[in-house]
Symmetry: C2
Subunit: 365 residues, 2 copies
């Protein structure tokens, strides 16, 4: 376990809001972005959490690579569909507002889809899918991203780790929340392992020659991450197909950049990445009580299936993350020492006070 500090969730939230406001984001937009970034850490997806504030969002905002206000405009609208331009604002804010409008439309029509172009990195795709839950809707959230993944039989990065996120309400049980990269792993996880000088299992990624490698540096530098499935023999063309599908819906359909056209926002050009959101109001199809009862039963069936020897639990997508969030909300949120140092440095750079105080560490994990 890497050295980390533990902070109260709300302290982290206030801290992130302050940084964003300091960089001239409107207060309400800073709140939206901070809430979503914090949620990543709460759910244990630290690669999409506060570490990204010093490494991505502060540089982008302070250099003007992305707009500090999300000026969202409508390209096209019908009762069930909406096509938006995010105006190169903060991805989290654009995605949040897009999903809000998707939910509003689904309230009236039962189902709605919203596409977004000219946006940026949105953090955890699952957040936006989960926004549908409190409305008893199924939420879907997709985004394309900077290329890191090679198609089956290719040896260079051609598509992003393009996540698929779907949230489905349940009754007594936690909702089903699938939030998955369509590649075996994400680039964020490789970054962390590189920092820890750890190798990766054969199958996660290839070097520049197309051979599987245990060196995560070679994967990111000239190589590529493998699509879900990992190898031809284990049907990696399915993961590749899913990743390409996400690029089609978020890039081609939304009218955003796609494939190698998606870049990090920079001085020359915005990222211009795209998202796709959908919401389905359950009770237009089935009474919500019946639906939730069946969801609970389905979840029980999975949880109570006979286990492989040595395994203690069978999980439902999202279950681990809900449990972690409950715990971190009670006990505080761990932040890697490295991220804390980067945050201190960033605060110094932009002239914002670093005022985070960790909770004294309890060692009985």
């Amino acid at each position: 376990v890497e050295k980390h500090f533990v902070y109260r969730a709300n302290d982290l939230y206030e801290f992130i809001v302050k940084i964003f406001v300091h960089l001239n984001m409107p207060f309400d937009e800073a709140q939206i972005a901070a809430r979503i970034i914090l949620e990543a850490d709460l759910r244990g997806i630290h690669s999409h959490g506060i570490i990204r504030v010093p490494t991505l969002y502060v540089p982008w905002l302070s250099h003007g690579y992305i707009s500090n206000k999300a000026s969202i405009s409508t390209i096209n609208e019908t009762p069930v569909m909406l096509s938006l331009d995010g105006g190169n604002g903060m991805g989290h804010v654009i995605a949040y507002k897009a999903m809000q409008r998707c939910i509003e439309k689904a309230k009236h029509c039962g189902v709605a889809i919203v596409t977004v172009r000219n946006s940026n990195h949105l953090g955890i795709a699952g957040y936006y899918a989960m926004m549908a839950l409190e409305h008893d809707m199924i939420g879907i959230s997709l985004t394309n991203s900077t290329p890191y993944v090679a198609p089956t039989y290719a040896r260079t990065k051609m598509i992003g780790t393009n996540p698929i996120a779907v949230a489905v309400p349940a009754g007594e049980e936690y909702p089903f929340v699938l939030d998955m990269a369509t590649s075996v792993v994400t680039q964020g996880l490789l970054d962390i392992l590189i920092n820890h000088n750890e190798p990766i299992p054969l199958g996660w990624g290839i070097d520049g020659s197309g051979a599987n490698t245990t060196d995560p540096r070679k994967v990111l530098d000239g190589g590529a991450i493998n699509p879900l499935g990992a190898s031809d023999l284990m049907r990696s063309y399915k993961g590749y197909g899913l990743g390409l599908l996400v690029d089609i819906l978020c890039g081609v359909l939304a009218g955003a950049n796609f494939s190698t056209g998606v870049t990090r926002p920079g001085p020359k050009a915005p990222a211009h990445l795209g998202h796709f959101f959908a919401a389905i109001k359950v009770d237009t199809i089935r009474p919500i009580e019946n639906f939730k009862k069946d969801m609970d039963q389905l979840i029980h069936q999975m949880n109570s299936a006979p286990k492989v020897e040595g395994q203690e639990r069978i999980y439902i997508a999202g279950e681990k993350e809900f449990e972690l969030a409950d715990r971190y909300n009670r006990e505080g949120v761990p932040v890697y020492e490295e991220a804390v140092h980067l945050l201190e440095q960033t605060c110094k750079d932009i002239g914002n006070e670093f005022n985070l105080t960790p909770i004294p560490l309890i060692e009985n994990d």
Copy 2:
């Protein structure tokens, strides 16, 4: 290569129609089912093609396990959503008519979804997604199915190989057609390998103890197929999550059976499986010409990516199948000898003339 006979596509079609009409299916429904079954063989997905006529559909129809006429009723309808009961008819016919109505709705509203309960095995899910293509729509087709797949960390069959199919129109290029089981492989492929006495690679499936096995018999008999990803280390919980998602949309949302509740239709109870269809009319979001131009560009980018040494092509989902269908439409469709014998036997059993004549074999494959 197993011994096979080659028949003209239209001869196979007429032959299947005749069998179904003989079993009292209405002529138009027999035509629909025959077309979809033939399409599977044309696309090289023989496990879902004519072999299923003697092994599944004839027994089900002749024993009355499924209804020979699809009496489809509406449970619920709005302009963008439709919930249907298939009346335990032939799955192909129910799914075809459901997708037709989905497309009609999407013509008016831009997007539509249709759920189906009380249905049966529908053959290749991709067929229904592809129905959207000629309308310049994106088509989505999902179905749940008899359990063959173990959740990650479980050792028994809990969900079906639950396919996801999505079809997207392109311009000059073949459409993108993803039609994938959410497991590493399908039960149909294992059946074929068992007949050929061939082992399977470690990672495709587990035996009854939860250990990976090379014996496909052990996978089907007491074991289970692994979800896409194949192992925990390669993130099989993503394949498991996708498979469960399909069960949620087709089983729970549609109000059909789900998980171990889905069975083969039999004397005691129907299969009561469910489907989920969606259609998105592209030009409500973007002009179709721009969309198709970008699709072609995306496809070119993938096809022309640098290749792993020893590989000749990078494919787009569906590309191989379109090329195969073109060839089989010209040269004839191969049918395994074993399937031909089963068809002869079935025709004898039900008193239908076996009148298929193969094309003389050309050996230069």
